[in-house]
């Protein structure tokens, strides 16, 4: 339900059934390979395609593709414009617009950056669209991460809907008092200040009240914790996680070694 966490899609696909740590390991390993693996384009393309293929098999590819498009469309246009016209390595000019020239090298670099971002996003969406944040927190805690730290990592995402609701309330209250939140960019920027202060203060008050409510529900109770939901893990998944870690480490080492060798 998007009311709780906008990216998670409830379901029972094979991706939903995978242990959260397996998906987290894939996302992190993919990010390492995309940005640190050898082969440039291939290193970015392969993990991204693999992630989309896995999402497609779980029936989540369209959702992921739409999210990637929404998040990256504007950024990609900016990347192409900035690097196309301003990249210092531009030599082959494809198009001249007055003093500016659209360079092939800059466009290629912008495409690589966009591809890397899209691939990393696809890999991380594989985790976020199929995993309840609470299950990820539980998995991290079961893996040995201190419970408080696991909560700290998960809670910003988990509390997003509440914060969004508060923003809407404050916005409505300020609009009722004559604040203009529509109009030019400058007007919108000005409108942010009267929204920010009440949002920050009320969120801080909320944090105190929430911490009290958590305490009386045994958040820091000294006993070992149990869980309502059992996260199913398997030797095959554990092995897969180690293989992904080793593979990502190996590819990173190859790329770093190559760079050191090439620099000499």
């Amino acid at each position: 339900m998007s009311t709780h966490f906008s990216l998670y899609q409830p379901g029972s696909s094979y991706l939903h059934r995978l242990h959260p740590l397996t998906k987290l390991t894939f996302s992190l390993a993919a990010a390492v390979v995309v940005f640190g693996g050898p082969g440039g384009w291939l290193a970015a393309l392969f993990p991204g395609l693999l992630a989309m293929l896995l999402l497609w098999r779980a029936g989540l590819a369209w959702r992921a593709a739409l999210t990637i498009f929404r998040l990256l469309a504007l950024l990609t246009v900016v990347l192409f414009l900035v690097h196309g016209f301003l990249n210092p390595h531009n030599k082959s000019i494809l198009l001249s617009l007055g003093p500016f020239g659209l360079g092939q090298e800059g466009l290629a670099y912008a495409a690589l950056v966009a591809l890397r971002l899209a691939a990393t996003l696809a890999a991380s969406l594989l985790l976020t669209v199929s995993t309840q944040p609470a299950h990820l927190v539980q998995a991290l805690a079961e893996a040995g991460l201190p419970y408080g730290l696991a909560y700290l990592l998960g809670s910003p995402l988990l509390l997003l809907p509440q914060i969004a609701g508060r923003v809407r309330s404050i916005q409505a209250a300020q609009q009722a008092r004559g604040l203009k939140t529509e109009g030019s960019l400058l007007q919108r920027a000005r409108a942010l200040f009267p929204l920010a202060a009440p949002l920050i203060f009320s969120t801080l008050v909320d944090v105190e009240e929430r911490s009290l409510a958590l305490e009386v529900r045994g958040f820091s109770a000294p006993n070992p914790k149990t869980s309502l939901n059992e996260l199913v893990d398997s030797p095959a998944q554990r092995t897969a996680r180690w293989i992904m870690i080793l593979l990502a480490g190996l590819l990173l080492a190859v790329e770093l070694s190559w760079r050191v060798y090439a620099s000499h």
Binding site: L214, V216, P222, L228
Partner: protein, 292 residues
């Protein structure tokens, strides 16, 4: 053994000049509902936090005297150790959601998980408490899609599922409509009948008068009155402390010099008592002057 023993409790928040609580002493027997009333800043919330063991543990400051709940000195036990024995429900329903669980059912399980209750015991306890608060049909809903009243009932369920011996409620119906308040008070009364000791800090005196076994009135961090609802709510001290009287009490007091309230009856603190008194006065008037 008393469920709660407070002895000479004085507490000052860090950086504050005056104490928020001063020389508070009282005892509560198990299975009672104690209403705590007072104007804003009288110390109601501070008392609730002290009884829950969160003052001074989380707020620091200076505390003198002792607070014992279920025989446990709150200064010698951490909030984590007291969790499960003492429950606390605050006024804002949304900020009491853990933010960690996706459904109402899972949210209710949060405290059980923290206290290490075996998984096999959880479903029965969760289903029972969701039934009790009337949320059984909404178990699979996201807590964020519930109304304010439903969220407050969920906050209550999340605490009641831990089966605390003492339940502390700090203005739990402030953000609710009359219907939502009625539902919450019904649950609270049921908990009392099941043996839970309840401390209820509340602005709405009508609810306290209707449901509490005993009332403690605070002013300036001190206990100014401690007694039965009919004693406390008709005391002039309540007016001096800025708490005020119930409308039915005021009506009876104003009617009394006019002979419209029976001199033999104490001032009423519930609608039912007021109706009985005014009916009696009306009957008496009719007997004196049958034309009326």
């Amino acid at each position: 053994m008393p469920a709660i023993e407070v002895s000479s409790l004085t507490y000052t928040y860090p950086g504050a000049r005056a104490p928020a609580l001063q020389g508070i002493t009282f005892q509560v027997e198990p299975g009672q509902l104690i209403g705590v009333v007072g104007a804003n800043g009288a110390g109601k919330s501070s008392l609730c936090l002290a009884l829950a063991g969160l003052i001074p543990a989380l707020f620091h400051g200076q505390m003198q005297g002792t607070v014992k709940v279920c025989g446990l000195d709150t200064r010698l036990h951490t909030p984590g150790q007291l969790a499960g024995k003492i429950g606390l429900v605050l006024q804002n329903p949304a900020s009491q959601l853990s933010g960690m669980r996706y459904t109402v059912y899972e949210e209710t399980a949060f405290g059980l998980e923290n206290l290490g209750v075996p998984r096999s015991e959880m479903p029965a306890r969760i289903e029972r408490v969701l039934q009790q608060v009337g949320l059984a049909a909404l178990g699979e809903r996201s807590p964020y899609t519930l109304s304010g009243g439903q969220q407050q009932r969920l906050a209550l369920a999340s605490v009641l599922v831990l089966e605390p011996a003492v339940l502390i409620l700090d203005e739990p119906t402030t953000m609710l409509d009359p219907q939502g308040s009625q539902a919450v008070f019904k649950i609270i009364r049921e908990a009392v009948e099941a043996g839970t000791t309840v401390i209820l800090a509340e602005h709405h005196l009508e609810w306290i008068a209707r449901y509490a076994d005993r009332v403690i009135a605070l002013a300036g961090g001190e206990v100014i009155l401690d007694g039965l609802p009919e004693e406390v709510f008709s005391s002039p001290l309540l007016l001096e402390a800025g708490i005020g009287w119930l409308r039915c009490t005021v009506a009876a007091q104003q009617a009394s010099p006019l002979g419209l309230w029976p001199a033999s009856m104490p001032l009423p603190v519930t609608i039912d008592a007021a109706a009985a008194g005014f009916s009696k006065a009306a009957r008496k008037l009719r007997d004196v002057d049958p034309d009326q």
